[in-house]
């Protein structure tokens, strides 16, 4: 009973909706904001889609999303007027509060862990543990907010203004992971994966093991880059290429070939803007000038480790 209530993600979603609602209200009240009403409306719609996502009919949520994307596409969603505190101000506060200022930010991962560990120790299955971690993130954020208010002596209003400052810096990009998930679903419904698997079957000669391994890993990386997600690509490549062309005809160890194919895909994830939650949102979260800055840094690593996947899989097939 208690665990069912604790593990209900809707509580966390409603909480996020409330935070977004406050950001929306602050935006609407920001007189120096260049796009005060349209930006405010954007955050308000997101607040609704977040808090009520589980009860609204999907087509209604879909329409809300389309409307938000149109507002953003028209360039009507932008940052508010809130500025970062000056460096002098920050240093003065830092020398007053010293290491106490770390307590709130440490509370976030700590509470997240505590929730996950508690449910793990209680013997729940992995999906319950994952949900516990997400609920823990919500609880951790609340604990952190209370601690931050207490330690700094700042007001609730300052806290939400500061939260909105970071939120504005990220802007509409925070929607991207969810939008990409819908692109993935539509790609699946349109059977794009089958098309790619057939393309590889068509190009690679059936008796050349090295080229098959190369085609398998390349197909996995390319499809992952298009979908932004190796988990979505794996079933397609495994059923279209790996099993029929490599595992079955050559009698290859399926555990080895399958797990290496999955991480060959992860190497693709490092190199694609479609994996927005890993590559684009962090760049925004860190306020980077180049939204592709993280990808550019990861590119050489990704190419090298992908090539090593091809070599390792080929050698393992030959040697064991």
């Amino acid at each position: 009973m208690i665990s069912a209530w604790l593990l209900n993600l809707d509580t966390v979603y409603v909480l996020t909706g409330i935070v977004l609602f406050i950001f929306a209200v602050l935006t609407l009240g920001d007189k120096e904001h260049p796009h005060r009403y349209s930006s405010g409306l954007f955050w308000l719609l997101l607040a609704i889609a977040f808090a009520l996502g589980s009860v609204l009919p999907h087509e209604l949520t879909g329409i809300l999303v389309l409307f938000m994307v149109m507002l953003d596409g028209a360039g009507r969603v932008s940052r508010g007027s809130r500025q970062e505190a000056t460096t002098q101000e920050q240093s003065a506060q830092a020398s007053r509060l010293k290491n106490k200022i770390f307590l709130p930010v440490i509370a976030i991962p700590l509470v997240t862990f505590l929730f996950a560990f508690a449910f793990r120790a209680a013997g729940f299955d992995s999906s319950a543990i994952n949900r516990a971690a997400l609920v823990g993130l919500g609880a951790g954020s609340a604990v952190a907010a209370l601690l931050a208010l207490r330690i700094t002596g700042g007001t609730l209003s300052t806290m939400f203004h500061e939260g909105r400052r970071i939120n504005d810096a990220i802007g509409s990009l925070s929607l991207l992971p969810q939008l990409l998930a819908s692109l993935g679903i539509i790609f699946t419904a349109a059977k794009i994966g089958d098309l790619i698997a057939r393309g590889i079957q068509h190009v690679v000669p059936e008796d050349n093991l090295f080229l098959l391994v190369l085609g398998n890993c390349a197909g996995m990386a390319i499809f992952t880059m298009a979908m932004g997600n190796s988990f979505a690509a794996f079933p397609v490549i495994a059923s279209g290429v790996l099993v029929p062309l490599i595992v079955k005809p050559f009698g290859v160890d399926p555990a080895m070939a399958a797990i290496l194919t999955l991480t060959a895909g992860s190497s693709g994830t490092l190199m694609t803007p479609m994996a927005a939650n890993f590559n684009i949102v962090p760049a925004a979260l860190l306020n980077m000038k180049d939204q592709y800055g993280v990808i550019k840094f990861q590119l050489p690593f990704g190419v090298v480790i992908w090539s090593l996947h091809v070599l390792l899989m080929y050698l393992m097939i030959r040697l064991i």
Partner: protein, 239 residues
């Protein structure tokens, strides 16, 4: 219409991203175009029962994946802590650690994330660790080793390295526990294709890749340290 026309979505994404168009608009346009070319209806309706409409899928995916955006909850607390000197204090703290460099911190953080994988914990640390802790600590380390104010271009590279160490540790480390979704996905898919694969065997075969990812990451991060210690020609700008 030839079947490969369905790839229009991928073309729209590549062209749209290359031309730096609004990413949200590019992605939704690609989704709508792919769905329409594949002959899917806009809305679920009575004339084609069992066929979900494009707008319905858009809404369903959006609400099913809200968990990806939960980091928004952490922003008020982090924002307030930043106003009250979080970044300054972490810089001051790390200045006392003489051995700390951006590269060493990134290596350590990547290992820390691999450890999460082994413990079976799955999380994305960009919002909870990188932005509030690892990045300011790295800037502090770089500042303590630099005679003058850090150039903007160097700060940008530090940000990229911090975010990358999170991804390297997370992506490759997460297959080291049997409760992790990647391993379970592979198990489920291979079972569906007629192969009962051992979870432990998969963990064994993924370990050389984990080792390689740590070594390659270390090489890249230590090279970054060397390039950060060289002066650049750019105008110094304060953070």
């Amino acid at each position: 219409m030839p079947e490969w026309f369905k790839l229009i979505g991928i073309v729209i994404v590549i062209v749209g991203f290359a031309l730096k168009q609004r990413t949200t608009l590019v992605v939704v346009t690609a989704a709508m175009a792919t769905g329409l070319v594949a002959g899917l209806p806009l809305f679920s309706n009575a004339t084609s029962p069992g066929q979900e409409g494009i707008i319905n899928m858009l809404g369903r995916a959006f609400s099913d994946n809200r968990l990806m955006t939960l980091f928004l909850l952490t922003l008020p607390a982090i924002g307030l802590a930043e106003r009250y000197g979080l970044l300054e204090q972490s810089a001051a703290w790390i200045r006392q650690l003489k051995a700390a460099t951006v590269g060493r911190l990134s290596i350590l953080y990547q290992l820390f994330r691999v450890l999460h994988g082994i413990l079976g914990l799955r999380l994305t640390g960009h919002a909870s660790f990188v932005r509030p802790l690892i990045f300011p600590m790295s800037v502090g380390a770089a500042e303590s080793r630099s005679p003058s104010v850090l150039e903007t271009e160097k700060v940008e590279r530090i940000k990229a390295a911090n975010a990358a160490s999170e991804n390297y540790g997370n992506f490759y480390g997460q297959n080291l526990a049997v409760v992790q979704p990647g391993i379970l996905l592979v198990y489920g898919v291979m079972r569906g294709l007629g192969y009962e694969v051992s979870l432990w065997r998969m963990m064994a075969f993924t370990s050389p890749i984990v080792l390689l990812s740590i070594v390659l990451g270390a090489i890249q991060f230590l090279r970054l340290d060397r390039s950060l210690s060289r002066p650049s020609n750019e105008e110094p700008v304060s953070r």
